[in-house]
Amino acid sequence: MLRRVLTVAWRDFKHTVLTKAFLFAIVGVPVLIAAVGGISAVIIATHEEPPLEGTLAVVDPTGDVAEAVAQILAESDAEDAAAEIPSLDAADLLTPDPSQMTLGRGEVRIVIERIDDDGPTIPDDVRSRVQTSDLLGAVWIPPSLLAEPTDRPAERFVLVISEGLDADHIGLIERRVGQAIVRARALRAGIDPDATAALLRRPRATTNRLLAGGTESDESEGRRALKQFLIPIAFMMLLWGASFSSGQQLLMSTIEEKSNKVMEVLLSAVSPLQLMTGKILGQGLAGLIIIAVYASMSILGLVVAAQLDLIEPMQLVLLVVYFFMAYFMVAALMAAVGSAVSDIREANSLLMPVMILLMVPLMLWMPISQAPNGLIATVFSFVPPAIPFVMILRVAADEAVPVWQIPASIAWGYACVVGMVWMAARIFRVGVLMQGKPPSPLELIRWLRYA
């Protein structure tokens, strides 16, 4: 019995992992990802933006905005070196956001030329100078933008720019002029912009989580977001991708054996249950390679980023435990479908309900990440085939899962695996010898009753 199962498993494993597609998936894709990541890092580290140099005309009869723009550009340059974390609060409107000036950007040397003109738009001679690139651009500030708030019909100023200016530099000028208008308004209203900005700057929190052992972990917001959302979805996608791609391979190889009419030759040597078990094991081993390669690559990424403490060894152990559970569930569904049809086109109609079932965990990612121990998470931790996917989301999250739920989900999940494989074996036994019109999902259920 075991010899036959292992012979089938070895053939399926060998003929899956020695294909170009598989080798590309486990060698080519990681190399490609590493190469793209490495090249991007090198480009970011070595790339120097061209400096932004030239004259910007500000059509501003009051002179308030032109002066503010000049001051903001000067302050921005001075604060470049101190730039750290982007801030997104109201204070940015009054004082420039230094990070926006510095990240990946070259030197900015803009001279402001104030045009004292109270016409309804940018004068033609100024436009001509922009066209000939004598000026970087020209800004027209409608007087209404500096009026009392109730008198402002539209919050827009006009900027014309020379042809060669790139998108980053255009965005920079737009932001600085906008900030300058706010600053000018504040000054007109008798408000000190710097003092007001200091008042409006939102303080940051230092949050410490009290852990079970009495210790405290202090984590930044970014790390917390990583642990709450990104690490769990990374774990689940790893599980989903590996189990689904192996299940897909199982489906294809079963269909191949039926369409090549080699099935009956095999059934003269092995029973349908032995054949199915061998195929499931062979493809499962291939899936384990996929998950090992991608998990190793992810761990390497965390090591490089000095963030390895984001995951724990037990989570990796549970990843393997839940991978086999997920794979066996997907494989049971795929083996049943594969045995019932003669080609991949026929499989599509039967795959639809299977795919909907398998998409459920993906749809549950957000609610479960927000409340890893909430009602939805707890209920779906015991509903097959969502069990392994939901549980891996929960155990990879920051919040500890109640101790009893992990062994309970493993025990119940593997009991469901036995039930699903048993049902798949009954369908497989009837299906592999069936030819002609593919069965409906209801007929598949009827096959369960056949001896």
């Binding site: 036959r4 003929h15 191949e256 090549n260 080699v262 099935m263 003269s268 040597a269 092995v270």
Partner: protein, 317 residues
Amino acid sequence: MTEPAIAIQGVNKRFGATHAVRDLDLTVPAGSLCGFLGPNGAGKSTTIRMIMSIIYPDDGEIRVLGSTAMANKDRIGYLPEERGLYRKMRVGDFLHYIARLKGVTRPDLDAHITAWLERIELPGVARRRCQELSKGMQQKVQFLAAIIHDPDLVILDEPFSGLDPVNAELLNTLIRELQETGRTIIFSTHVLHQAEEICDRIFLINHGVKMLDAPLEEIRRRFDPRTIEVDPVTPVNGGLEIPGVNGIAARGSNAVELHLDDDADPHAVMRATLERVPARSIRLRRPTLQEIFVETVRAGEGEAAAAQAEEALSHAP
């Protein structure tokens, strides 16, 4: 007494409303070369699949090599009617895989495969992919897959289907050789003259019902038409009298058939005929399997069924 290779008792198999095999009793002695004959849809492949434990009877019992086919899979070679190969697999790998599944553990398996490939006139194809072979070559590889593990019982479902005359003759020879080494061979066909050439035992089935199951010689004796065919040098005109002959009928333009009395000795009648009629040839007529089949159906199911059976056989490729 040696245990039969196959013993079937009271087997029935239904597929929905179709009663594919009815109350079948059948014994295939060990070492025999037995033909499972009948038109398409007669129940041959269903019977074979039940023998192989690929499908199971609704009721009745099947014993294969003293037990069940499941327990003896490694001792049985099977060439199914619906047969194929892994298209992208190399021929040698495919045969190696099937041999391993059949429990072959010999260390010289690759050499064994190479020797067999040479024997079936496919030297040097072990490294070629199955899809690169012609249909006839693929069929020979499939046959080899059925016997690569030296089985005691070989079951071949329509083995000659699609083979050209040269390869059919090669297969014929191989089947005889296998039998000479003591193996039991069963092969099914709807082309009755193929079975007539090599079988020593016949199992005839029609509409799922066994019509005949006996050694070929016994069947021939049972259906002996007691007729002598004579091709005279000059046309025979009336007035010919031969002891033991109760009637003479023209056959074709010149030949005649002599119908014998029940107690007449055919050899004595042939000698007496040659003394009276110079002849180019004279022979004791043997019934063909097709005639036996039609006659059996006629006796069991009536004239309409016999006509239908004859029609089905005459359309066989």
